[in-house]
Amino acid sequence: MKRRLNGFVYIGLGFSLLVALLLSPFASTSPDGLEKVAETKGFLEKGKGWTFWRHAPFSDYSLPWIENEKVSTALSGLIGTLAIFFIAIGIGKAIKKR
């Protein structure tokens, strides 16, 4: 059963892009699992004020030049999803059998 993959890939990528664009601005902003535990167990401070990597272009899933938070989140998600699609394909191509 070696069916073509194109249709599935386009639909899957399109679906993922829609998820990133339309749902991410409305995601819960409550502290996540680890963050909540760190907060209640008193070690959240340890992760503050020091970051090894300071050049993340879309820090905290936002585009620094867009003021509207929801638009900013949605677009950063869109860019990230598209970028990771091509990065994963590139890495996949590099390591697949020749």
């Binding site: 995601a27 902003t29 963050e35 340890k46 004020g49 990771i84 697949k96 059998k97």
Partner: protein, 240 residues
């Protein structure tokens, strides 16, 4: 500029930031994760052809997008889909480890989600424990349930739940060894919170895989049910 966690910012529910873990723990998990990944690359190299590569791309894209969608769980906490078992049943556990690693690197370097010093620990928790460990549990249960269609979905749901709870427990152990939080505090808190998040993981994984099975059963590499069940399906497919 402080670009680290403060409540309300979007971050992965298990993604460890810089500063939480000791150098020793980060180094040890980095070595283990790097070894697992390099073996994973060899396995993927042996099994992957032209066809699997775009599937890997779309799986990674979906996981990245879905990980942005934090859903609320009890007690003012949120969690999100991880996708480790999901990608394992689609692509196999080793390609899944590579996918999780790619996602974690992009999140860390591109989105400041998860610390670069903790990347080894994050890959260990979500890739080695989540994807490889979760797949191990899936295979064990699927075999135990005698490879029926129902058994496939039960194994999938339970393994997805375990992948979250085990990954979170691994994080708690790393926090304890690092001296950040004692094990008897961190482990119940992390496992308890993620026991709830894991229910979401089980629901999303089962829904996503069943949707793919309906349209493209050939893409779910782990779906190898007993002959009778797959015959039933073939008949069903014809009549549908």
């Amino acid at each position: 500029m402080i670009r680290n966690s403060s409540p309300g910012q979007k971050r992965g529910s298990m993604h460890i930031p810089d500063g939480f873990l000791s150098n020793g723990v980060n180094a040890a998990t980095f070595v283990i994760s790097a070894a697992a990944c390099s073996y994973g690359v060899k396995r993927v190299n042996r099994n992957f052809g032209e066809r699997e590569v775009p599937l890997m791309g779309v799986t990674a894209a979906f996981i990245f997008a879905a990980q942005m969608i934090n859903f609320p769980v009890a007690g003012g906490t949120s969690g999100h889909f991880l996708g480790a078992v999901f990608s394992s049943v689609l692509l196999g556990p080793w390609a899944s480890l590579i996918v999780m690693t790619i996602v974690l690197f992009v999140q860390c370097l591109g989105f400041a989600d998860g610390g670069l010093t903790a990347i080894g620990s994050n890959i260990f928790n979500m890739g080695v424990v989540g994807a490889l460990g979760g797949y191990g549990i899936f295979i064990f249960l699927f075999t135990l349930f005698q490879k029926t269609r129902k058994g496939f979905f039960s194994a999938l749901a339970i393994a997805s739940w375990f992948s979250i709870v085990m990954g979170a427990s691994a994080a708690a152990i790393e926090l304890a060894i690092s001296g950040t939080s004692p094990l008897k505090v961190a482990l119940p808190a992390m496992a308890g919170t993620h026991a709830l998040i894991g229910i979401g993981e089980a629901i999303v994984t089962t829904a996503a895989v069943s949707l793919i099975l309906k349209t493209r059963p050939d893409l779910v590499s782990a779906y190898r049910v007993r002959q009778e069940d797959s015959k039933k399906e073939a008949v069903h497919e014809k009549t549908a």
